[in-house]
């Protein structure tokens, strides 16, 4: 059990909470320790776009005062980092893009507000694929992030900076966003725990949009228990986001004790078809066996249309992104081309210079699928397939409580390995995209190693079943130690 004798950076949110409450150390001490660690590893990992040391110390001092006054909130004094697409007032918010490389947000995102109101200390903003478009963190204008398990490898993406920072024990918890797997896939590739809640569970207000109907904020931590703590603070209705759902937020922490005995775990045959690395498959099957041994019941389920999820996603997400990114035009904020000749030149060069290749590829794809004459064949058809995929999940959840399987088809791959082949890169999200299309919650937890690299187990549940996912993950983590393994250089 993590505790007193451990170095601060090795401790989980839950353990740090106890330490702060017991007066073992102050938030300032904790913050200073982690800031020093971030500084020393930043050159090798590049997990951060902005490190907010000064602001963090201010917040830490305030948290210590609040605690002394007896008013500590649920995250009081605990260090966290935000993915750099959550707007943070007075702090650079770049989305990993040149087009926003000078953008200081005038307001805080709902997630940032809630986490700050709970007393958390923000250490910085993490690196990410440009506008969250990517599965390897290589599309960032600020350069790729290294995987702490092997610095030649990618940590996955798009929340690669958040995942790497948590895996490298630079910070106990990070926010992320997941549009097609951007929390779960990097969590799997870095041996961390990442949950994407139900669409509408966490407010999107202030979260720079990639694909509005798919984007959802979540967390990357080192345990399901920590994920429950942070998600509990972030979740809840927000009138500023019309798609935010007014549904009560259960006490995720209190639900963690629920045993998996009798839990019906669906296993999808298609998930173990070709494309999945054999060793990864073996680790996932081991994990299923562990659950079964603890009393869970494994049930075969079929998702007949799940094979269409990647192509469906690559119509819907680019369509929405092509429209969402229109506001980056060089007129009001962000990168603006120098000495434009006229309006068209201002637009073309500001956007041409500001966006990277992957973003341009998706804007063009999206523009194409929405164009007159192609709309029905692509966008409308994709929406219909999306309905079918949702229905498949609905049918499956009439028989099972959760669906379990691999998070990603392989372990972490080398930086540069897939950059020339977008399709192979896109297939990295083959197991995660379905949950986004259907708006379902999903969690990835470490379930072992293949050739020394972490493998992720994904659990997907019905709408608003976060408590079940977190409890199942927590129970698994009580039976295994995979989530406690730290990369050799970062213990």
């Amino acid at each position: 059990m993590a505790g007193k004798d451990q170095a601060l950076h090795m401790r989980t949110l839950a353990s740090l909470t106890r330490g702060l409450a017991a007066g073992e150390f102050s938030s300032r001490e904790l913050t200073e320790a982690l800031l020093a660690r971030i500084e020393s590893h930043q050159p090798a990992l590049n997990a951060f776009i902005t490190i907010t040391a000064e602001l963090a110390l201010l917040q830490a001092d305030r948290a210590d005062k609040v605690r002394a006054a007896g008013n500590a909130g649920p995250l009081n004094g605990l260090p966290i980092v935000h993915k750099d697409l959550f707007c943070t007032q007075g702090v650079l918010t770049t989305c990993g893009s040149r087009i926003l490389d000078n953008f200081v947000s005038p307001y805080d995102a709902a997630v940032v507000e809630r986490v700050a109101a709970a007393g958390a200390v923000m250490l910085g903003k993490t690196n990410m694929d440009e506008f969250a478009m990517g599965s390897s963190n290589e599309t960032s204008y600020f350069g790729p992030v290294a995987n702490p398990w092997d610095k030649k490898l990618s940590p996955g993406g798009s929340s690669g900076g958040s995942a790497a920072a948590v895996a490298a024990r630079l910070v106990p918890a990070a926010t992320g966003t997941d549009t097609g797997g951007s929390i779960r896939q990097p969590a799997a590739l870095t041996g961390t725990t990442g949950i994407k809640p139900t669409y509408g569970r966490v407010s999107r207000y202030g979260m720079v949009a990639f694909a509005s109907s798919l984007d959802q904020a979540g967390v990357i931590t080192r345990s399901a228990e920590d994920a429950a703590m942070l998600l509990g603070v972030m979740a809840g209705h927000d009138g500023r986001d019309s798609t935010s759902v007014d549904h009560p937020v259960p006490d995720y922490g209190a639900a963690l004790g629920k045993s998996v005995k009798g839990l019906k775990v669906g296993v999808v045959r298609q998930h173990f078809d070709e494309g999945l690395d054999d060793e990864c498959a073996a680790r996932v099957k081991d994990a299923l066996k562990t659950l079964e041994d603890a009393g869970a019941e494994l049930v075969d389920v079929d998702l007949p249309n799940i094979g269409l999820s990647v192509p469906t996603y690559y119509v819907v997400a680019p369509a929405e992104c092509s429209s969402n990114l229109s506001r980056f035009d060089g007129v009001r904020f962000g990168h603006r081309a120098e000495d434009p000749e006229d309006l068209l030149d201002l637009y073309c060069r500001s956007r041409g210079e500001g966006f990277g290749a992957e973003v341009k590829r998706r804007v063009m794809t999206g523009t194409y699928v929405l164009s007159a004459g192609y709309y029905d064949a692509y966008y409308l058809k994709a929406q219909k397939v999306r309905q079918l995929i949702s229905q498949d999940f609905k049918n499956a959840f009439e028989r099972v409580d959760v669906i379990a399987g691999p998070t990603a088809p392989t372990t972490a791959f080398a930086i540069g390995e897939k950059t020339d082949d977008p399709i192979t890169m896109y297939l990295n999200d083959i197991y995660t995209i379905g949950a986004n299309l259907a708006g379902l919650p999903g969690i990835s937890i470490p379930c072992g190693f293949a050739a020394g690299l972490p493998v992720g187990l994904q659990l997907v549940g019905p709408h608003f079943a976060e408590a079940t996912l977190l409890a199942s993950a927590h129970q698994y983590q009580q039976m295994t130690d995979w989530h406690l393994e730290a990369p050799g250089d970062f213990e």
Binding site: Y107, G206, A209, S212, R327, D329
Partner: protein
């Protein structure tokens, strides 16, 4: 106007809804503020912000739908209309496309022959307005004012049922009147709260297929609508008669030169790539909501007009004029109910003297310096023969100048009509005696001279003699 050519017109009217805040943000919609002082982060299209629908606009759109006998959709959807322009901060306008909130409405106008004519309303949908570009006051660059960005608009689209510029204007006036009756728009055309695009085409009479249309953008007065359409009709006929073809294009009306000019052709037209806005949920309304809105509908112009004819015995044309605005109709009803004078007389005074003074001063009837009750007081004095209609005009002017009520002015100025027949007789006698020549001519059959004698008597009495009595006594004396 056009011989064997038939004109086909459809209008798209943009009505600004009279909400306090914008359609998707909390910023104020008040007109005339300093540039960019009424644009919040949502209106500015900042990264991460999201639209939240103003419930009031839904209520207002439903109210309009019910007033024009339309279907109020139980489910409507906001879509994004994508195009780049500096005054469109998000790079898309949030509008309704495939599923608008109002469909299949109608209203009735008088056609060019004075017959009642039905005009179909295809749809009315909600959307946000754009900002505006400011091309003056900056050297080598343009300014953007986003105060107007996000202002709620209801776009009302007619069927191509209109057959002349006059019909188009009559239809537009009717819509203008309805939105003001419903109090969903101030209808202020100078401030751009009520403007329209006109789709105009011509075809040989009897041909079923429509001609190629041109769309004239952004017409912001009834007069411009009429003149722009008439210019465009002439232009299209000329093009065709010269052997040319009308091209489908967008045109702008230049009121200084009184002509329309090509703005962009169909080939240059944008592909707006409409798709449902994923940031907004579909608008779902239940019957209870629609019925609650229906319960708030006021009496509308057509019904009021019919009632004015039936109840007050007004001429249809007068009833139509009086009911153009709800305020004027209300004013009329107060006068008609309070006065003992004939209801038609009340109508004549409002349509005539009062309207011309209001027009001259450029003010609305609510701001009239003579209140409805005071006007009723004046008409009472005509009805009871205290003053003549002619004297009444003098009293009316004095009331407008703030000299007091009709009774006070009549008293102060000594304008009370002479109705004592003895007094009138002696004046008549004197006038006849002073004009023996004219009297003889009259008696020899030149009866037109009666007017001369009436005039003389009135002159002697300062206009205060009762005209009917004067006439009668003169006739008797001149026999």
């Amino acid at each position: 106007m056009s011989g064997h050519w038939e004109v086909v017109i459809g209008l798209e009217i943009h009505t600004q809804l009279a909400t306090k805040s914008k359609i998707f943000s909390g910023a104020s919609t008040a007109y005339g503020a300093d540039p960019n002082t009424q644009a919040c982060l949502v209106d500015l299209g900042y990264p991460g912000v999201l639209p939240v629908l103003n419930a009031e606009v839904v209520r207002m759109a439903a109210k309009f739908g019910l007033a024009v006998n339309a279907t109020v959709a139980r489910r409507s959807v906001f879509a994004r209309k994508n195009y780049f322009y500096p005054d469109l901060p998000k790079g898309y306008q949030i509008s309704q496309y495939e599923l608008p909130i109002v469909e299949y409405g109608e209203l009735f106008i008088r056609d060019d022959e004075g017959r009642e004519k039905r005009v179909g309303i295809t749809r009315a949908h909600l959307e946000e307005d754009a900002g505006k570009s400011v091309h003056t006051s900056f050297a080598k660059s343009s300014g953007i004012d986003l105060n107007r960005a996000g202002t709620p608009l209801l776009e009302i689209v007619s069927e191509p049922d209109l057959r002349s510029a006059r019909e188009a204007v009559a239809y537009m006036r009717k819509i203008h009147s309805i939105v003001r009756y419903l109090e969903i728009s101030d209808g202020n055309m100078q401030e751009g709260s009520f403007r329209c695009d006109a789709n105009v085409s011509v075809r040989p009479r009897g041909q079923e297929e429509l001609g190629t249309r041109a769309e004239i953008k952004n017409l912001n007065s009834f007069r411009f609508v009429e003149r722009a359409i008439n210019f465009e009709i002439e232009r299209q006929i000329e093009v065709i008669e010269d052997g040319g073809e009308v091209v489908q294009e967008t045109r702008l009306y230049d009121s200084d030169k009184d002509e329309t000019r090509s703005m962009r052709s169909k080939e240059e037209a944008n592909d707006y790539r409409y798709f449902p806005d994923p940031d907004l949920l579909p608008v779902e309304l239940d019957d209870a909501f629609v019925e609650a809105v229906r319960a708030t509908l006021p009496e509308l112009p057509d019904a009021k007009q019919e009632r004015f004819v039936a109840h007050y015995g007004l001429k249809a044309a007068d009833a139509e004029i009086l009911t153009t605005s709800r305020a004027q109709a209300d004013y009329y009803e107060v006068v008609a109910e309070k006065t003992s004078a004939n209801a038609q007389l009340a109508a004549n005074w409002i349509i005539g003297d009062l309207s011309s003074l209001l027009n001259k001063e450029g003010i609305d009837i609510q701001e009239s310096r003579i209140g409805a009750a005071d006007l009723a007081g004046l008409l009472d004095r005509i009805a009871d023969n205290t003053i003549s209609g002619k004297i009444a005009k003098e009293v009316f002017d004095a009331m407008w100048s703030g000299e007091g009520s009709a009774d006070q002015i009549i008293e102060a100025r000594g304008l009370k009509q002479i109705t004592d027949s003895g007094a009138i007789e002696s004046i008549v006698d004197a006038v006849i005696e002073a004009n023996p020549g004219q009297a003889a001519e009259y008696r020899s059959g030149k009866e037109k001279l009666l007017g001369f004698f009436v005039g003389q008597v009135m002159k002697e009495t300062g206009g205060k003699a009762n005209p009917a009595q004067v006439n009668q006594i003169l006739k008797e004396k001149l026999e």
